[in-house]
């Protein structure tokens, strides 16, 4: 009886794991097929392994430019958002300002604002600033969108730090900047890394804003570029799947190396 029950539990989880991973498997196997190979047998393993789809992407599409744009946008917005959020969270947790609780509550409310609702005003602003088709347009927008969750994340983390640590530094006459850099940051490494990963995934995967703000082919991010080229190459499934695979490859590698950071960071919105 118990054996039967534990076997059925195993079976349930195995089925679920297969369903969860199947699209990934589909992307990889399809990317390694030729178009005719895919048409003849869409589900099976590739009969003739080919890497021509990958080389075609790099030679026919501005793929490297898109990757570069995505990297720049991700790095810039994540670094700026993380730094200013750490400072703000430090002020909320260890500062005396009266408004800090109001600020924090407003900040939590902003976490759930749909980005699409901000799209028209931000677009007209960027038109006025002549930033359309330029990366700073999306970097500014992404950076603002990342701040609420980042502040929320760091405030929750800082609140768990024993106050005695900060107090001791204070008694020694340390200034706030010194407390932040010498006392708080050295013990915040893992948390900061977690947050950087969560934020980087958001920016790397984002489509809508990139689509609207970057309309010229060489200014696009990877996701926007692939999304627009799918229409042009709609009948060449292996080519599109090769592009899809390359777009998720960095995430796959990071996930295999450090899934605990993903899990911890992406579920941090729950509770508190």
């Amino acid at each position: 009886m118990t054996i039967l029950r534990s076997a059925s539990r195993q079976a349930l989880l195995i089925v679920l794991a297969i369903v969860s991973l199947y699209p990934m498997w589909f992307i990889i196997t399809t990317a390694l097929k030729t178009p005719t190979g895919y048409a003849l047998d869409p589900t099976g393993l590739p009969h003739h392994l080919t890497f021509s789809n990958f080389s075609a992407i790099f030679s026919q599409w501005p793929f490297l430019t898109w990757i570069r744009n995505s990297l720049v946008a991700t790095l810039a917005s994540v670094v700026v958002a993380t730094v200013i959020s750490i400072m703000a969270a430090f002020a909320i947790v260890f500062g005396t300002a009266r408004a800090r609780e109001t600020f924090f509550r407003t900040n939590i409310a902003l976490m759930a604002i749909p980005p699409v609702a901000l799209l028209t005003p931000m677009y007209t602003l960027m038109v006025e600033l002549h930033l359309i088709n330029q990366l700073p347009a999306v970097i500014i927008f992404y950076c603002g969108l990342l701040v609420p969750f980042s502040i929320f994340f760091f405030v929750n983390f800082f609140r768990q730090i024993p106050y005695e640590l900060v107090e001791a530094a204070y008694i020694d006459g340390a200034r706030p900047s010194r407390v932040m850099l010498r006392v708080i940051m050295p013990i915040s490494g893992a948390s900061t890394f977690t947050l950087v990963i969560v934020n980087a995934i958001f920016v790397w995967n984002e489509l809508l804003i990139a689509l609207v703000f970057l309309q010229n082919n060489n200014s696009r991010t990877l996701m926007a570029g692939i999304a627009l080229y799918q229409g042009r190459y709609i009948t060449n499934e292996p080519l599109i799947m090769a592009a899809a695979f390359l777009s998720l490859l960095p995430l796959l590698v990071l996930y295999v190396l450090g899934q605990r950071f993903f899990v911890r960071g992406m579920t941090a919105g729950m509770g508190r």
């Binding site: 679920l16 589909f26 869409p42 400072m87 759930a112 799209l119 005003p121 809508l208 799918q230 919105g269």
Partner: protein, 312 residues
């Protein structure tokens, strides 16, 4: 225990209002530290809130805007495409109970001890990390007329599952909803298993000694114990269904066929940026903001309640 608690409360009384760096009575450094973030928030959120409301009262394209009062809003509710988009969002809200119940069942099963559960959890969580563009593209091939899904269903003689999943107005919203469930499930499983691990083992043991059955234990002890987390999860998923499904719609169907799978996000994109009708798009955005603020208020309410419970 008592001593520790007394000591802490005296310490709290000695420090006015919590923990802080008491440099001088009135210091300005917290404002200076919060300033850059505040500027970013004011620019992206504050400025946008004001401007989106203003634009919703104008018609025409950029550079030639004319004031039209509230007529964009009335135009919105007489536009069948907007009504369709709104209803599609509401239909997608059905994914919330589906994901919640499925994730809860899986988490309860995992929690009652399955060999290798950590690995399963890592595998099931993986879809949540993946870019919606890549997932959308894969599913657009898997679900198309002669695609993998229909082929497999046919081979298994499950003919009721064979449909034109992306081409028929009747089924297309199910496809989008299905992909959302597929991606969000792992998130729910991870959130719920983490919460279940924190349920004190004594509670479960006591019930088992009293002869309670597996389901009774789950229903009477486990689920009530993590109800706050379930509430948080439901609210977050509702916000997701309402305001971050654009990528799936754009990639899987392009809102089609004939706007049958359009959602409010897609409507705003279509009107504001493909057709250049800034006013209408802004009115739809204001409407979406109003809808999501209901869920934000709920989130803050649950948060306050759970903080109060933790203190008592």
């Amino acid at each position: 225990m008592t001593i520790a608690r007394t000591r802490r409360s005296t310490a709290e009384r000695a420090l006015p209002k919590g923990r802080y760096i008491p440099r001088r009575r009135r210091t300005i450094w917290p404002y200076a530290y919060a300033a850059p973030a505040l500027v970013a928030l004011c620019l992206v959120f504050g400025y946008s809130f004001v401007e989106v409301v203003r634009y919703s009262l104008y018609s025409g394209s950029l550079g030639s805007l004319t004031y039209v009062g509230f007529s964009n809003y009335s135009a919105l509710f007489t536009d069948p495409v907007f009504i369709q988009s709104l209803f599609d969002n509401l239909k997608l809200l059905v994914t919330v109970p589906v994901v919640t119940v499925l994730a809860l069942i899986v988490a309860l099963v995992i929690n009652s001890g399955v060999r290798g559960w950590r690995l399963y959890r890592v595998l099931i969580f993986f879809p949540y990390v993946l870019p919606a563009v890549a997932i959308g593209l894969a599913f657009s091939y898997i679900l198309q007329g002669g695609g993998v899904f229909n082929t497999l269903a046919q081979d298994a003689h499950l003919n009721f599952l064979v449909h034109d999943w992306l081409g028929s107005p009747k089924w297309v919203i199910f496809s989008i909803g299905g992909v959302i469930v597929w991606q969000q499930l792992g998130f729910g499983v991870v959130v719920f298993t983490a919460a279940l691990l924190a349920v004190p083992a004594e509670l479960v043991e006591a019930a088992q000694i009293d002869g309670a059955r597996w389901w009774t234990v789950q229903w009477k002890i486990m689920i009530p114990h993590i109800r706050r987390i379930i509430q948080f999860f439901v609210i977050l998923e509702a916000i997701t269904a309402l305001s971050s499904v654009f990528t799936y719609v754009y990639i899987l169907t392009g809102g089609g066929p004939a706007y049958s799978s359009s959602v409010i996000e897609f409507y705003i994109y279509q009107y504001g940026f493909e057709d250049g009708a800034i006013g209408i798009a802004s009115a739809a955005a204001v409407f979406l903001l109003a809808m999501s603020s209901v869920f934000i208020a709920l989130y803050l309410w649950v948060r306050t309640r759970s903080a109060r419970e933790e203190q008592s």
